[in-house]
Symmetry: C2
Subunit: 334 residues, 2 copies
């Protein structure tokens, strides 16, 4: 990651985290502690970064100031989905800490997620104190609520795919758009709202976010098998154990011969030994799936760059940071 | 229930149910089936009734037409909370059918609730097709998101109270305002938004809704112990088993002597025989708690009527229906 991007990610992460801790308060204490548990544990804050940097790119520091509640909204929403997804996927660790349901129990985790969902909309209200009008809030709310519907659908497809072997690449791309792309798309669009842009620019920003989001998820699926758990903070081979139909699995099943395909089907979606998962990971690599997935992620990243380059901007440094982000999501090792 | 109220409840229930089935669509199919499972099973639709009748009372049929997406929003939101509450409370039946997590499993129920939450905001968008502007949507969204935060807090207090014996009547009243009152308050306020009223009228409507909501919940707690399960559709004595700190329990613990108090504490919050729960129910009645709770509910209902009477309205029949509703919530046996 470039120094510029690293610095700006840090600055915006601190800004949005402080803001969230200021805004998300109430009683009973345990509800708020459970809700903020994962947020406290860290995270890259890519989504609010996109909102803030997009707003600043298009309208300077005034846009950035208006964008803060919107940036917090997407991060709150994202953390709501993480808490509930961890329940569904029975994941026990994230960001190096026990997941919320492990730390607080299922009931509190369920409710903590619901609260963050509520807060993601409620926090938009603070936009009124920062130069946004009710109309901007209305637009922001529609963007966020459409994304919320899509994220639910994406998670549902992801679950449904776990039981199926006939998932193709298009199914996969649609699913990861819904599950991951839609919220990153919304993050960029909300930056446009904060910059008081018209629907056309907001829609272009959405396209940038969508491409970055899909590329990000492809890379996530790659790291889920070939990443270093010490760096990703995620349990090794959990995607294989859960039977996730990622681009890698789908491609490998298409390309490999029957014997190898059966070998994969006998391991994926089952509790197996680490050795067996490792063998499957090697089979997948052998099929060319890793290269295929990386090429696709890079191609999306390049398309995202072209969209950025087409915009009229006031802050070139923010554009450069957003360019670097589109590259980072596919080059990262964590 | 009066014939007028019954007829209008039916008309509005059908209107909002049809609308929900038209608006809440998508894939994968199982997600939408699980999400609509409880809505399909019926329900009184009191909250959308309040939104629609309030809008009509203040601005006639045009207000009623604008109110439909807002009415659907509160019903969708309410059903989201029911699905998640049933998971938390481990309830197995509601509205005469298995709860969503029993019918579809925990994971799908969790996600189905999340989808309905998303849809409750997304459906507001249709207000734009019905004469509402972005500013109205912004106001509606803030009302709904504040209510959502409160409902989470209320559910959290309800859970926290289960483990505590030092809950007093004020704690209880605050909790039921958050858990039940806040959404009914929002339902009435949204009717005011649809009627294009100013903040002062919207706030008065909120007060009506808040009082009706609290009275409704007090009556619900009464029916939870003294109601006929065949009529309420809820398992008998589940509140006692779960250790809910209702107004009845709190009052009885304050009034009864040590022996009887211990008897109650030994049964409430534990798995006990129906006979033991029945004895506790009798002890509570003996303490005067039933009368105390009923008096409080009636007093709130009367205050709600006075607020209605103070409004300038264009449709007297809707006002009369809303008056009858405020009486019905405390006189109902289901």
């Amino acid at each position: 990651m470039s120094e510029r991007l690293e610095r700006l990610l840090d600055v915006y992460a601190k800004m949005v985290t402080d803001y969230i801790f200021k805004m998300v308060r109430g009683r009973p204490e345990i509800l708020y502690k459970a809700s903020l548990h994962l947020i406290k544990a860290g995270g890259k804050r890519l989504r609010p970064f996109i909102t803030l940097a997009t707003a600043r790119m298009l309208s300077g520091t005034s846009g950035e100031a208006r964008a803060l509640p919107l940036a917090a909204a997407v991060e709150l929403f994202h953390n709501f989905t993480l808490i509930h997804d961890d329940i569904i996927d029975k994941d026990e660790f994230r960001r190096g800490v026990p997941t919320t349901h492990v730390a607080y129990g299922l009931e509190w985790a369920l409710l903590a997620g619901d609260l963050l969902f509520a807060e993601s909309f409620r926090v938009l209200e603070d936009g009124l104190e920062r130069g946004l009008g009710f109309e901007d809030l209305g637009r922001a709310m529609l963007i966020l609520s459409r994304a919320a519907k899509r994220v639910s659908e994406g998670q549902a497809f992801d679950m449904e795919f776990e039981k199926r072997w006939d998932v193709d690449i298009n199914d996969y791309l649609e699913m990861i758009y819904l599950k991951t792309g839609a919220l990153i798309e919304a993050s960029a669009m909300l930056g446009g709202i904060a910059a008081l842009e018209d629907d056309e620019v907001v829609s272009l920003l959405g396209e940038y976010g969508r491409l970055v989001g899909i590329a990000f998820q492809i890379k996530d699926d790659i790291l889920g098998i070939y990443g270093d758990p010490a760096k990703t903070g995620k349990p090794v081979y959990s995607d294989l154990r859960e039977g996730k139909k990622t681009i890698l699995i789908i491609y490998a099943l298409n390309k490999l011969d029957n014997d190898k395909r059966e070998k994969i089907k006998n391991v994926v979606g089952r509790k197996a030994s680490e050795e067996e998962y490792r063998e499957v990971a090697e089979l997948i690599r052998e099929s060319g799936a890793l290269k295929y997935a990386e090429d696709m992620a890079y191609s999306m990243s390049r398309r995202a760059l072209r969209i950025l380059d087409s915009l009229d901007v006031v802050d070139e440094e923010s554009r450069e940071a957003l360019r670097e982000l589109a590259v980072f999501v596919v080059e990262r090792d964590h």
